[in-house]
Symmetry: C4
Subunit: 269 residues, 4 copies
């Protein structure tokens, strides 16, 4: 009976299992509570709203943390239902240290720490939004989520290389710019780490306009960097485009063609 209760609790809490009215109600309630929490964290920071509805925000926070604590305890209790976390002690520990669980824990722990009165950790509740993203693994977005994550997985090395090239470019550009522009604007290009701020805002074409070169050489360098910045956009776009093409072709092939002769099995696409 104890085991049946655990199984039922597990199915109730897991959005990907069970399809009864209560399953859907609990799942919907958890998702709504996550979204409401995020909205509460966001609007709590608006002084006028906090002054007017401070006690309401506080009450909602206490309720949420209580609910999420209960949910967390139940999840840790029932996780042994999954084969991966079967062992009552080591399985549970591995569950606790899984990425999803740590985010769940992170969202409730600051509330219980005396620290939270000294320093403000309420904003960690926003990380629950990452859990909200997991909702897309279900239902009609399952396919899209799988395609996007497959593309990122299959092109991971190329994308990491893009990032390394970008970072190298930022370091080299900052060093050059520092020695070119330091004398003309010693306050804005005061050191290489300071100049990196300029490199980042230029290479990503954000261009706030708080730091920009005024010397001729500095401007020529900026021209080179920002034209290379175009390449930094084109490179990952090209990699992802080819990744998506390959992924969609694979999906289509799986559906439509015979693996032996390559001929289409149906005419509809």
């Amino acid at each position: 009976m104890y085991s049946t209760l655990k199984k039922h609790t597990y199915i109730l809490l897991d959005p990907s299992e069970g399809g009864s009215f209560w399953d859907k109600l609990i799942d919907g309630f958890i998702i709504s509570l996550i979204l409401l929490n995020v909205i509460a964290v966001i609007f709590e920071t608006v002084d006028s709203l906090f002054l007017a509805y401070g006690s309401l925000f506080k009450a909602f926070e206490i309720f949420s943390v209580c609910f999420f604590t209960l949910e967390y305890v139940l999840r840790v209790w029932t996780c042994t239902y999954i084969d991966k976390f079967k062992h009552p002690v080591t399985g549970r520990l591995r569950y606790i240290f899984s990425f999803g669980s740590l985010i769940d824990l992170l969202a409730i722990v600051p509330f219980y720490l005396p620290l939270s009165t000294i320093y403000d950790f309420r904003f960690v509740r926003v990380f629950r939004l990452i859990r909200f993203l997991r909702v897309f693994k279900l239902g009609r977005y399952l396919n899209a989520t799988r395609i996007i994550s497959n593309v990122f997985k299959s092109k991971k090395e190329e994308l990491v290389l893009c990032l390394v090239i970008t970072l190298t470019l930022i370091v080299v550009a900052s060093s050059l710019m520092y020695f070119v522009e330091h004398d003309a604007q010693p306050d804005k290009f005061s050191s290489i780490p300071e100049t990196m701020w300029w490199s980042v805002t230029t290479l990503t074409t954000v261009g706030y306009g708080d730091v920009f070169p005024i010397t001729g050489l500095g401007r020529i360098l900026t021209a080179c960097i920002s034209i290379l910045g175009i390449g930094m956009f084109a490179l990952p776009a090209g990699i992802l485009a080819s990744g998506f093409s390959a992924e969609f072709q694979k999906l289509k092939k799986e559906k439509n063609t015979c693996p032996h002769c390559g001929k289409e099995l149906t005419n509809k696409e």
Copy 2:
């Protein structure tokens, strides 16, 4: 005879039907009037032009609204000619509440309301521009319109997921930035909703330069966000690229290859 008149009126008003001189004249007149209306709305707001030609703008507005009202009434009257809106009452109601008709209604209604003297609703006439876009469904752009809308339809879920990831990133980045930068610039990063303005202008690489971080940690966070911003450009570009590739290949296949053996039927491409 009443039915024939209705049919002729319908054909006269519908740009996709009829090819006689009068059909083309009426269609061209409606399209020109839409464009002139948009131009009028735009230039009416320039004070110097309004002072000089105010009565002309007014006269043109009265004329346009009269014409579009007549057109609207005739369309509602003749819509029963289409099978979809066949029923004189429910069909007409369904026609009135269709997207295109509501835009037509929205563009003429403010003129008749006393409200328009209190608050200015003339700008809703700009929405007629959306109707102007429907012109591209005809003629030589029909194919291009169909391809673009097909790609958006087939990749809808991936694009929605992109949007959700972007919004999540904006919320998470704003929350982090608020707690990092609030103490240094309490006036600019006064609350999370306020900080979202910074997130949006940074992630989309617009970078107006009215809000930017000044602390070291805030700048490192900005660097991460704006490099992720590159990804936010690359992701939809990649998805759409693969969508267009698939769409054009499908079109080519339909034209050139035998659906059974996959061999080309003609050599020309």
Copy 3:
């Protein structure tokens, strides 16, 4: 003999014909002179350089215009050598009104007009740069030029539609923004044409930072516009990507496969 002289002159002037030492010398000289002219036009506008080397600039201008006038006259004289412009009168007239010839004429005419002393038309010489681009139609860039122009030709309608959507978005966004932000910043959002300046700098993610909304609604609208701005980058990128893929596949197929069975003729790629 007259005809032989004409033929030799034609071959000397046309960069795509003839391969003798003198052909290459003349072609190289014309290209160098075009580039030097562009450089002269650019640096003439720098006051300090113009004061120091004004007479040199003037002398170079006189020399260039004389040379280009001679070249233009010789080209008009020899153009009848080409079949397309065979007729001595109508052929020559058609040659004169061809795009390339008009640019050549435009670059020398301002010098002879008394107007040039009143208003400054020297900058039209910069348009010779367009003629310089034609150099890429030759030699090793011929293939690349053909591919890029083929892609633009084959995807012309989709790209035009992109442009129309962009312009519509600019008009609609400007109208909405004007009515949202006009009261808060009457000097910056003074009229819809004025607001279009904001739309353009936001949608293209340039973001100079001279005009930006300060009201909450205006900022939400900006967020929507700039996220749509990402789409405005992704759409043409996707269209061109699929265009290039199709173009390169076509090139590969032409080289490597039998048009009847689709099998590869060589293993090398």
Copy 4:
């Protein structure tokens, strides 16, 4: 024995050869020292850090330069081990003037010059970062590096043409803008080279906001330029996307299909 020592030294220094404990230790040490050098160059420029740890930075610089000088000498000595640089004199000279060796030399030479006391050349050590990039040619990123460099090689001509079109656009836009905006803002659009700064920041959508047009015509020109700027992003993105697609398809084909009948040899992808 002399030859064996040379061989062992060569293998010890070359990261792509040898797999013993000492090989990996030396390679890891060199890579760490390069990264530490880059970090030192970056943080040396922060005044507060330099004041506090100046002697430490100096000591580390002396140690690094000694080590890299020793490494350089050993590399020049052992380079004859490679067939390409076999000849003791001409081979060594060719090795010294290879790209990688020149960067190595550039990073140590300023230290020995009396010049370095007059003018600061320490920043050239940052170029060692380029050597760090070569690390990616090894191990798990080898494939990704090869794909990216193959794509750039195969699409080199198209990308060069993109760059030429971009530069032409910058020159033409600057010339037009100078003649349009010079009278309104003689200090900001003082000459065409000065106006090029505006062109670059606009076309690359950086938009610092230090220079922007204020006249109506200037703004219309900016709108055209920045919409063309979207194309300047889409063009290389499209070229690279098709390049990556072709490259990945080639890789897949090499693995999975028979080169004679085009049928798949295995079903797994």
